[in-house]
Symmetry: C2
Subunit: 422 residues, 2 copies
């Protein structure tokens, strides 16, 4: 019967215990040899005689011995009189010393050796924050009557434009990798009213930046019977609070990563795009916020509202996709928003058009033919409610939590212009 490292501290002193895991570190002292074992739960210390034959770091082993109290050992209990059994051949030397407190390697080394370097406890904890976030995302939405859906990643037409789309050879004809589940999640509002999906999205980003990936995890939400985009923002607020609570329930991972958890305010402060431009001193006809504007707005939100989050609503219609709902009374602006988290864009959301004639007009206004969108538009011809939604990028979220300089540092196996392996 195997005991996890984490549970060793609860073992009765003197009990015979078997641990299994990786040799995290060996330390030969003059009169004693330490083997630190790592498993999914944590670390444990094993005491062996001086000169004992300890396999190299990362070898998988089974260790049987006696649980013995020692205030110096992790958890206050170590294994003595231990027998070490190898589960494979001795492991090759890892590309970095995984037992050191920090993984001090260059980004290319980290990514080339991801299968091994993700084993470092501080690196592994980063993904544990991602996994906890997913749990919090889903449980919050399940409570609110949302249905999880699965939409196709192979699609006939590019979602929003022909740019940045990957082409697939689909039984001899072209297909595309979905850039977002936008069209399908809207159609499914017609079925379930409230839907969410966690899945990969694909962007053929031709630029090398610290924030973009060719494939990332999108946390997508869409809901019907709303008044306007403010109802969408209220759901986003609760989702973020649920994600933060789930992350906080993994205190050991939070500590390992040094993540700084935000407080999600009861109401996320909102500023209109036009006011945001004025606030940062940008010309009133700017169509978008520059990164330095987003940073300044983040600082303002923290100083003025004590909030790590700020929603900028009303983005110019000209810069939003065709399905965006205009702001009633002033169609220069839209009922959409970006959510800034610590001065960086984390979420895009808003209200969508819901009337079939509005879709026809919006598509024609972009010089396209509604017939090309026929399978999407059938949902609207057969009755759709006012609706909206948002999408959170999982990797960006975790990168902000742990203040990673590059989104690749928190992505298990990133894909970009240059990287297709491991």
């Amino acid at each position: 019967m195997r005991t996890l490292c984490h549970d060793l501290s609860a073992s009765t002193p003197g009990a015979e215990v078997t641990l299994e895991g990786w040799v995290h570190r060996r330390r030969e002292l003059a009169r004693i040899t330490f083997l630190v074992l790592r498993d999914r739960s944590g670390l444990a210390q094993v005491v062996l005689p001086a000169g004992a034959d300890v396999p190299p770091e990362e070898t998988t082993v089974r260790v049987s011995g006696t649980a013995t109290a020692n205030a110096q050992a992790p958890g206050g209990v170590e294994l003595t009189d231990a027998v070490v059994e190898l589960l494979t051949e001795p492991a090759a030397t890892p590309p970095a010393e995984l037992w050191r407190p920090r993984l001090d390697v260059s980004l290319p080394t980290l990514l080339d050796h991801a299968p091994v370097l993700w084993r470092h406890p501080a690196q592994r904890a980063r993904w544990q924050l991602a996994a906890a976030s997913l749990r919090g995302f889903r449980s919050t939405l399940d409570e609110m009557g949302f249905t999880e859906v699965a939409t196709p990643k192979l699609v006939e037409t590019a979602t929003e434009s022909g740019a940045n789309v990957f082409t697939v050879d689909y039984f001899g004809r072209p297909a595309y990798l979905a850039q977002s589940p936008q069209f399908h999640k809207q159609q499914l509002v017609g079925v379930f009213e409230r839907v969410y999906e966690v899945g990969p999205v694909f962007r053929a980003e031709p630029h090398d930046t610290v924030r973009h990936l060719a494939e990332y995890r999108s946390l997508d939400v869409e809901l019907g019977f709303i008044e306007d985009h403010r109802d969408v923002l209220a759901v986003l607020r609760d989702v973020l609070a649920g994600m933060v609570a789930a992350v906080a329930s993994r205190p050991e991972a939070v500590e390992r990563t040094g993540a700084r958890l935000p407080v999600v305010p009861e109401q996320i402060p909102v500023i209109h795009f036009a006011d945001a431009l004025a606030l940062v001193g940008a010309p009133a006809d700017e169509p978008d916020l520059a990164p330095e504007h987003e940073r300044a707005l983040g600082e303002w939100a923290l100083a003025e509202h004590g909030s790590d989050f700020l929603a900028v609503e009303g983005y110019p219609m000209a810069k939003r996709p065709f399905y965006t709902h205009p702001q009633p009374g002033d169609a220069r602006w839209s009922n959409s928003f970006d959510l800034l988290f610590r001065g960086l864009e984390l979420v895009t959301g808003g209200q969508r058009l819901h009337r079939a004639p509005d879709y026809d007009a919006a598509i024609r206004a972009r010089g396209e033919d509604p017939a090309a969108y026929d399978s999407y538009l059938q949902a609207f011809r057969h009755g759709m409610p006012p609706h909206g939604g948002f999408a959170i990028g999982l990797e960006r979220w975790v990168a902000r939590l742990v203040e990673a300089a590059n989104v690749r540092e928190v992505t298990l196996f990133p894909r970009d212009l240059h990287r297709l392996a491991p």
Copy 2:
């Protein structure tokens, strides 16, 4: 303040109530008009005067009125003195009458009009079983110390063979769509020991069958520090029990679909492949089970063990992928299994190789060069535990539960040789 149809029965008689949803059905009688409203929670009856102007079926509306007890109405309460407000233009006539108890359409009609026909309550309930299954899958594994992971769908090499793989134009060079997360989930056993993923997998299936899709949802599990494939089967047993329990917690969806829920036995019965061949009277050198053999085995499991499930272990190594662990003592057979559910293959699983030299030998034995698998094999050179796992096809699972003749009937937007829309 909106009330859901399902909650109308709890309204105080005489209370003013507002419902929102779709016009599910209108019925004009001589002295009265009925409007049946549908929302995500169910149906409600609205009473209007004879000759009232009721919008056509599927139009979205807001209805305000007085909650009034009526034993004939769904839930025992209906809305009287009602005012109906349209939320869009009147809806176009749907491709089938969604208010009829059964959706009596051909498969092509069902698939061409999926965005509208999924609204039918009995059809919608099928996907609700899928969503519940996902919840049960994840919660069971979360309890058992598994970590959810996200592996790339864009990969450099085909997972198991060059056959049935989709090619992507990846910034001017070829990439492939992952046929399974197999390689990456194994690597991540090295990090988290126990991992799962729910995600799309892609198979360029050149054949039109009732069981195959070009894109489907795979529920993948992999765990380390096992004795052999029987430990994997034990986890699979608990996962299936968790999925059935989650489905059972949606009794209204179970009833709507007529799903027949299996009892998951404490131990799933196991038969060796060689014994299975003998049992069905097949030649002892058959390399695989034919569909009629699987059916016969399913009947045998039910008659002999009272079980809807049967694990067939020991499949010939020659028919299994290179990473399969052979059966100790007789390398003709493997430590792998297929799980039959009611006589159809639902799950494939087993123990994998875990020693680096075994991988080199297995890959060379297939006439390939281990160097081509370098990024995958680095995990094994740096220490991996004995491990194994399995994959469940979500759509096949739901199809078996509701006894759908074709897996496409339970897939939101199926993709196959001929179909890339809606």
